[in-house]
């Protein structure tokens, strides 16, 4: 048992009305838990068993081929959801401040333009996946999206903000209306945590 489900950093109903309690319970308690259980099963008895999750993803190409897909999908799922819970919070939203705000303005022109880009990336990801704000190895910010549970860490980038656009993330409350979910997601972004992630990625 290497990896364990991290407790949610707030109550299941803390993100209401934007993200409903039942969705949070199933998303954390079932989906995230299943990724961890399947990851642990895949790496059991291998040299990768004790490796921290994000190091495991950064070294995904060293993982033996017979378990690589399972590690990619379930390890990605574990890392992505762990970040996702942390960058949301009750009474959050608004806009970033400080160095992150300056970097967003410098990169995208304005916070509004960044918001449009992240929204478009989240809405246009066909099928299951994620939209991200990442820090490139040289320190530059970029908005990207990945399919399924692929993590930006697998290609050497550092995700500092991610929005889950698997249908399980929003279907109970929003059904087919992904754009409404994405718009409401901006009300729960924990910018203090994203700024901390940004600072850590600079080091």
């Amino acid at each position: 048992m290497t990896h364990q489900l991290p407790p949610l950093p707030y109550a299941f109903d803390a993100l209401e009305p934007y993200i409903d309690t039942l969705t949070m319970q199933i998303h954390h308690g079932k989906h995230h838990a299943a990724y961890i259980a399947n990851l642990n099963k895949a790496i059991a008895g291998t040299p990768f068993e004790e490796m921290p999750i994000n190091e495991l993803l950064a070294r995904i190409n060293e993982v033996p081929e017979e378990i690589r897909t399972a590690v990619r999908n379930n390890g990605g799922g574990h890392s992505n959801h762990t970040l996702f819970w942390a960058i949301m919070a009750p009474n959050a939203g608004g806009a970033p401040t400080g160095a992150l705000a300056s970097a967003i303005d410098a990169t995208f022109g304005s916070f509004e333009t960044f918001k449009e880009k992240l929204t478009a990336a989240a809405i246009n990801r066909f099928g299951s996946g994620w939209a991200w704000l990442i820090v490139k190895p040289g320190g530059a910010l970029e908005v990207i999206s990945t399919p399924n549970q692929d993590s930006p860490i697998m290609t050497g980038d550092t995700p500092i903000l991610g929005i889950d656009v698997w249908e399980h993330a929003y279907y109970l409350k929003y059904q087919n209306r992904r754009p409404e979910y994405v718009a409401n997601f901006f009300n729960v972004i924990n910018w203090a945590q994203v700024a901390a992630n940004f600072a850590a990625a600079q080091r």
Binding site: F126, E167, N176
Partner: protein, 198 residues
């Protein structure tokens, strides 16, 4: 002639309780309809306007510049095929020549059901599981997102949608329960048998 959303082959309550009217209202009325509307918008005024759905799928597959057209066209086709793959009072076992071929290929109906369920549950992310004819042979395949066996020269006989929107309101994270219900209570073997005999 723009494409139109094909009506459901049964009332929206007909698959209750295994597949709820509420799920159908979104799945057919919103998702399937959006694919139709998007496709019409994307091909309007292009060389693809006036082609059949199958032609559009074959002409756009593997063309990164036409991914949106392919995705919507294939999803229109896949969903129409999916609605026909279910029926009120469905489930049970196939009969006739298809049943014999299933036994010959998989060993027994039970072994087929086991493999079909494993395929549908094992498709990571969004996609489809299919029973197809590959020439005279039967195969179980899965496809991601909008992809369809048509473009691999395979002949679909039956499909189950395993995008989360297909089952989330009724089954949430329990995809295996949905696929089991599909096999036990929903699957339209008459449709599969007719496709096999074509």
């Amino acid at each position: 002639m723009a494409f139109e959303l094909p009506p459901l082959p049964y009332p929206d309550t007909a698959l209750e309780p295994a597949y709820s009217a509420r799920t159908i209202s979104f799945h057919h009325g919103k998702h399937h309809k959006a694919y139709v509307d998007n496709l019409n918008r994307l091909i309007a005024g292009t060389a693809l306007e006036g082609k059949t759905l199958e032609e559009i799928i074959q002409l756009t597959v593997n063309d990164p510049g036409k991914a949106a057209i392919f995705n919507n066209a294939a999803q229109v086709w896949n969903h129409t095929f999916f609605w026909h793959s279910m029926k009120p009072g469905g489930g049970g076992q196939p009969s006739g020549p298809l049943a014999a071929q299933i036994v010959e290929t998989f060993g027994s109906y039970e072994k087929f059901a086991e493999q079909f369920k494993a395929a549908a549950v094992g498709r990571f992310g969004s996609g489809w599981a299919w029973l197809v004819a590959d020439g005279k042979a039967l195969k179980i395949v899965t496809t991601p997102n909008a992809e369809t066996p048509l473009t691999a020269g395979l002949r679909p006989l039956l499909t189950v949608d395993v995008w989360e929107h297909a089952y989330y309101l009724d089954y949430q994270n329990r995809r295996p329960d949905f696929v089991q219900a599909f096999l036990d209570q929903l699957v339209n073997w008459d449709f599969a048998a007719a496709n096999w005999s074509k």
